[in-house]
Structure formats: structure tokens, C-alpha cells
């Protein structure tokens, strides 16, 4: 636990010292909201009874969490390729703490970004709603989702031999996950086959929860079911990461 905390705090220190990473992470959501969001809402107006900016903010949160997970994997990959992981491996700390420290810093950064998106979204006219319980639920959903993808990214990062290889693999599941979901358009309007893909896509469950609990929307899927799917996804992702990581250090 203490080692996890140490590794987490190291990543956070590096994060706040690295102005490129910080700036990139700040700008990305701002651009999504300011350019894509504002443009699309001028085009579309209202979706399912809610303002389009409100409708798509959960999608931007999901996208950002995905980006955060990819970044978290990059940090592990870099520590692996540059040998920094050896410092951990010869230290008297549990192997698991290396992975947990990484997942923890990834989630922290994603939540940090989520906060910025909400502020920027509000500045551009989005009106999040919901009570405290609702927001806690939304937070939990976002954490589970980020953990799941951080797990996938860490699993890939445990095996990749190069940064290029890593990005190639990550790209395969990054954008399709956003497009084949309810992030940008309502589930009901999707053709059958995409809806099927969307239903095995964890992004769909996160967005449905976020809309229902924090963005004036209504759930199109049972909430508890969505939470269960996200929990399953988080466990599956982290398990994959653990298996990949164990192999990598053996």
C-alpha cells in the first residue's frame, strides 16, 4: 500500500513538472468542448430532450478517460523500456504495487481532466445536474471505466517492445470504442449491428450512467446493470494487466 502510494505520488510529481503533458491534457478536453461540442450543438440542437452539449459531455469525459488510460500505459511502457522498472523490481515492494501505483495515477489524472471538462462545459453553456449521490455514482462509474481501460493499456504496455507498437495497438481500440457507442448519438438511433457492438462496449454503460445521474438525461439501460458491467470491465481489465505484467517481469 505504501509502495503504491509512493509510486502514485512520483507519477503525480512528474505530471505536475511536465508542462507538455499537463498542457496537452488540459487543451485536449477544452478543444473537444469548445470546437467539436459547440459546433455540433449548433448543428443538432436538442437530443432526447436535452441540449446537445449536455448530451455529448459524458462522451467527452469517456474519451478523455480513454486518453488518460493510454497515457497511463505509456508511463509504464516508458518505465519498462528505460529500465526504471528495475529500480522497483530490486526494491522490497510487492510487484502488484507497481501496477496499482500506475493505475492510481492514471485514474487521478483522468479525474483531474474530468473536472476541467465540467468547468469548460459549464462555461460553454452545459448545465450538469444531479444530487450528491448522483455525482458520487457518476464518479464511481468514471473510476471503474478508467480502471478497466487503464488495465487494457497496462496489459499492452507490459508486452510492447516499442512506443510505436504500443500506439498501433492502442489505436485499434481507442476511436472505435468512442464511435461504436452512444457517446455521440443516442443508442436508439443506431442501426442494429452497431447497437450490438455498442452493447458490448463499456463506453456505452459509462455514458448511460453519466447522462442519467449527472446530465439531465434518463437511463436507457438499467442503472444497476450498467454498474455491474463497468465493475466487470474494471476487474477484467486489471486482471489482464496483472497477467501481462507478471509475464513481462518473469
Amino acid at each position: 500500500m505504501y509502495a503504491t502510494l509512493t509510486i502514485w505520488s512520483k507519477h503525480m510529481t512528474k505530471f505536475f513538472h511536465n508542462y507538455e503533458e499537463l498542457g496537452g491534457l488540459l487543451m485536449q478536453p477544452i478543444l473537444w468542448v469548445a470546437i467539436f461540442g459547440v459546433g455540433m450543438s449548433a448543428l443538432i440542437g436538442r437530443v432526447e430532450g436535452s441540449d446537445y452539449l449536455n448530451f455529448m459531455l459524458p462522451g467527452i469525459l469517456a474519451l478523455t478517460a480513454l486518453g488518460g488510460a493510454v497515457g497511463g500505459g505509456m508511463i509504464l511502457l516508458e518505465e519498462r523500456l528505460r529500465g526504471i522498472i528495475k529500480e522497483y523490481l530490486v526494491a522490497p515492494i510487492p510487484r502488484l504495487s507497481i501496477l496499482l501505483g500506475n493505475a492510481a495515477s492514471t485514474v487521478t489524472k483522468a479525474l483531474f481532466q474530468a473536472g476541467i471538462i465540467l468547468v469548460v462545459g459549464a462555461l460553454f453553456g452545459a448545465r450538469p445536474s444531479g444530487d450528491l449521490i448522483g455525482w458520487l455514482g457518476a464518479l464511481l462509474a468514471l473510476v471503474l471505466f478508467t480502471l478497466g481501460f487503464a488495465g487494457l493499456a497496462l496489459a499492452v504496455a507490459s508486452r510492447s517492445r516499442s512506443i510505436m507498437g504500443y500506439h498501433g495497438l492502442i489505436f485499434l481500440f481507442n476511436l472505435p470504442l468512442l464511435f461504436a457507442s452512444n457517446a455521440l448519438y443516442p443508442l436508439a438511433q443506431l442501426p442494429g449491428w452497431i447497437r450490438l457492438i455498442a452493447l458490448v462496449n463499456p463506453t456505452t454503460y459509462l455514458i448511460d450512467i453519466l447522462r442519467a445521474l449527472a446530465f439531465q438525461g434518463s437511463a436507457t439501460l438499467p442503472l444497476l446493470f450498467s454498474f455491474a458491467m463497468l465493475l466487470l470491465f474494471a476487474v477484467a481489465g486489471m486482471s489482464l494487466a496483472l497477467v501481462g505484467f507478471r509475464r513481462a517481469i518473469a
Binding site: Y2, T6, T13, K14, R82, Y88, V90, A91, P92
Partner: protein
Amino acid sequence: MAGSIIVARGLSRRYGSIVALDGVDLNIAEGTVYALLGPNGAGKTTLINLLTTLMLPHAGSAQIAGYDVVRQAAQVRRLIGVTFQELILDRDLTGRQVLDIHARLYRLSPALRRQRITELIALVQLEEAIDRQVKGYSGGMQRRLELARGLMTEPQVLFLDEPTQGLDPQNRHAIWEYLQVLKRERGLTLLLTTHYMEEAEALADVVGIIDHGRMVVEGSPAALIGELGADVVRIVGSGDTAAFLEHMRAMPYIGSITHDLEPGAIMFGVEHGTRRLAEIIAQAHRNGFTISDIEVRRPTLGEVFLKHTGVTLRS
């Protein structure tokens, strides 16, 4: 053996079908500076990886301070410090952060961390740079920081894999000086790999020469050099080398013959080199070997190495 802090028995490791380490035994007494010498690919780093619990052996066993490196890896990790062959530093952190985070992984208290950092940056002379980011450090400063990091936890055994690789002579000598201070003042046990002969000669109590994954010879530098004879007569020339060497081998005063193929030099280990000079020249002449250069000198660890591995290590 009583007092042994590093013990290995038949330590072996393969990579696929390549045998990197082939049954190495070690017995290193506490407080010893042990230098592992060997050509590239000899198995030095593999041996370090096994002893520092980074890798599992395929055969054999090893103990550090009585703890098995496989079954009691956690205890071993608590006792050792390691610096690796490549520079392993977070370039975005300051030197102080690097040291502090490292010590936190070992659960040192904040007060102890502060105290050790102050002591160690004085030792490795990084007081001025310690609050700057590592990316601005020179290679020598990074090595010094790594050395300080390895010492943060006051390890009982410090492993240094090529601690001065790529450093200019000035920085190399600085690192040697720190290591000599540590040896003198703390009685630290040190296992280092190097392919600099002067490094082994300057630091080591015991030298182990490793080649093709096997320990070829082990001993104090003085004893190893002594085995070659009191002097070395080094000849460079051309002609019927085979006949000349054949003939020389039969001479009773020749202790050892080594042949360095690359510059075409031949080394004879002899007692009283200057007295045998005339005779050696005469023998060369008689056997159709033309001498272009000849010298008599005290043997070095380099010649010991050449004798046992058949290759020269170049600094």
C-alpha cells in the same frame, strides 16, 4: 565458509538455447570489494541479475547474507543496493526527488531520508545540482546520483554493474575515490562488474574472471599477476610464429605464453625478464621470427585476463 555474505553454487541461466551462465560458484567475504571481469556477453550482467533477484536461475542457488535469492527474495531486496549498467533515472525529477522516492520505497522515515540525502550528496559532490532536474545532469553527475541512490538504504551489499562505463577519466577516478571511501569507512561489501582493468586493480580485493558463463579464475589481483611470473617480455614481430612458439614452450625459464592475435604480440611470462632478453632474441632469430618491438615490464591484470580468456579488454 564463515563470514561469507554472497554465496553461489552452480548458478546457471539460459536464454532460449544460449547458456549465459554455466554453473558459477561464488564465495565472497563480508567487506570485500569483488570485481567481476569479463568480455561482453561473458555472463556478468546475468550473474548480477540473478543475485539481485531480477531473474530466476535455471539451476543452482545463491544466498545473500544467508537469504536465498529465490525463496527469500523479499529479505534479499531489503539488504542490497544496485546500480545498473544503463543509467536508470527519471529525467523529469530533481536529484533530491530521485533519492527521496527511492528511500520511500524502502520505507525510510522522513528524518532519516533527509539526513542520508545530506550525507550522500556531500560524498558524491552533488550539493549544488541536487535540486535541479536530472535531465540537466552530465553523464558523470548521473552516475554519481545513481551511486548515491544505491547507498540511500545503507545496503549490506552494493552491486554495481559497470559503474564507470562511458565516463571520462576524471569522473571515473572520482567514482573510484567515493568507492574507496566507502570501503575504508563503512566496510561495505561491493560486487562490481567492469571491463576496465585499472578499475579492478584500483578497487578490488578479489577479482573473478568470467568467460562463456564460467568462472575461469579467481584471486587477488596480486596473486593472479604473480602467477604470470615476475616479468612479462612482450614481443611484436613477424615470421614463423608457430615454430618460434613451439621452441619457446620447451624453454624451462618460460612461465607462460600468451598470444594476442590482434596486434600480433606475444607475451612471455618469465622470472628476471631483463636477464632473459638476449636469449629470447637469439631464439627468435634462430627460428625465423623477426622482432620489430620488444619490451620487458611488470605483468598487469590485462595480461592475466588475456591468458585466461584469449582476448584483450580495451579500455
